[in-house]
Symmetry: C2
């Protein structure tokens, strides 16, 4: 049984691994979990002894098969709890993450399974991220950044890259929600901002914004 802290390390390494094919550096992990590199080194030794990661001094780490499975279980729990909070308890999509960070550490396979059933086997969390199934299989979709679309194209808003509370609140304020259809009407040449038709209103979205929004072409 892993400690709370070990689970957080595992999750950090898992998320960092999605961004790159290389081994994950000590510094990157320290940055991710807001701690010091020396603390990370110490923990990596411990997790390597437990066969959760492959670790060679100075060479960075990667998850072992067991580590990967374990990380996926935690991600599964995190995202299922997010759905519960959003669908059943009236939480907004910018509030769910923080509480799911606590709930993801509850140990009970039956709880996870029953929660999944109770929520009717959801495929995505409130930010559009896929929920691994019981076996740890995760269905990644072909989603692309809104920024890559051309004028005239239409796509469905299916996810956010950065799900920080401020960004999510910004979208809420503009009534832009997961599932909405977006049509590009114009792209400003000088700052790459996009004019987008959403729910019959015109929005001008900054370069930063359109690089944070994932869509599926329709």
């Amino acid at each position: 049984m892993l400690t709370h802290s070990e689970e957080n390390y595992l999750k950090a390494i898992f998320h960092l691994s999605l961004e790159t094919d290389e081994d994950i550096s000590t510094n990157a992990i320290a940055l991710k979990i807001n701690s010091q590199p020396s603390s990370v080194t110490e923990m990596l030794k411990k997790m390597s002894d437990k066969s959760m990661i492959s670790y060679q001094k100075y060479k960075g780490v990667s998850l072992t098969e067991v580590g990967q499975k374990t990380a996926l279980k935690i991600v599964r729990k995190h995202r299922l709890w997010e759905v519960f909070l959003f669908d059943k308890l009236n939480f907004s999509w910018d509030e769910v993450h923080e509480i799911a960070e606590q709930l993801e550490h509850i140990h009970s396979d039956k709880l996870t399974q029953e929660l999944d059933r109770f929520l009717d086997y959801p495929q995505h969390d409130p930010h559009g991220d896929p929920i691994p199934n019981r076996a740890g299989f995760i269905q990644y979709s072909e989603k692309i950044l809104l920024a890559t679309l051309q004028v005239g194209e239409t796509a469905r808003f299916v996810g956010v890259k950065d799900s920080s509370a401020v960004f999510l609140q910004y979208l809420d304020k503009r009534n832009i929600a997961l599932g909405d259809l977006l049509t590009i009407s114009f792209i400003e040449a000088f700052d790459q901002s996009m004019h987008v038709l959403i729910n019959d209103s015109n929005h001008i979205l900054s370069k930063q914004t359109i690089n944070n929004i994932y869509v599926l072409k329709v």
Copy 2:
């Protein structure tokens, strides 16, 4: 913000205080939480510094007003989660306690409130114990032990004293559930075992059993 461990001490002292009007001894706490008296002494000092308990060396402890309120919040969370597991996630009443022990430590007032609403403001947990309201008020009922009834009396099964898994499973096996009506038909003089009519079947309940079952006379 209290630690996981401090919350467990608080809860232990709270439950022990329900059984007696005297101050709670170091040994009693150690026994309750399965630890050593010396560990308890150490923690009591810390919690006294935080004004959660009144503590005098060698004299035992009692909860302060703040400590009492805090303990009630934890009990509230514990019992609400038990209802959730039982009502929504198909857990049996002997399984809910263990997982609620983990869930009770999740920190979020909004979560507790929304859970309460979602469950439709339940008054009792699956073992019949009362759930404190948001303000920390707890409605104790006049429940008495089944053992105190006389032949011919009828009462409703409203709670258990010892909610250990084995005892709860024993009741399940005999189809005896919270809310059932019980009528005493005979009491054996030599071992105080009771012949009880429940759901049209006759049960012979041992002295231990009838001292673990709470009822309300009807």
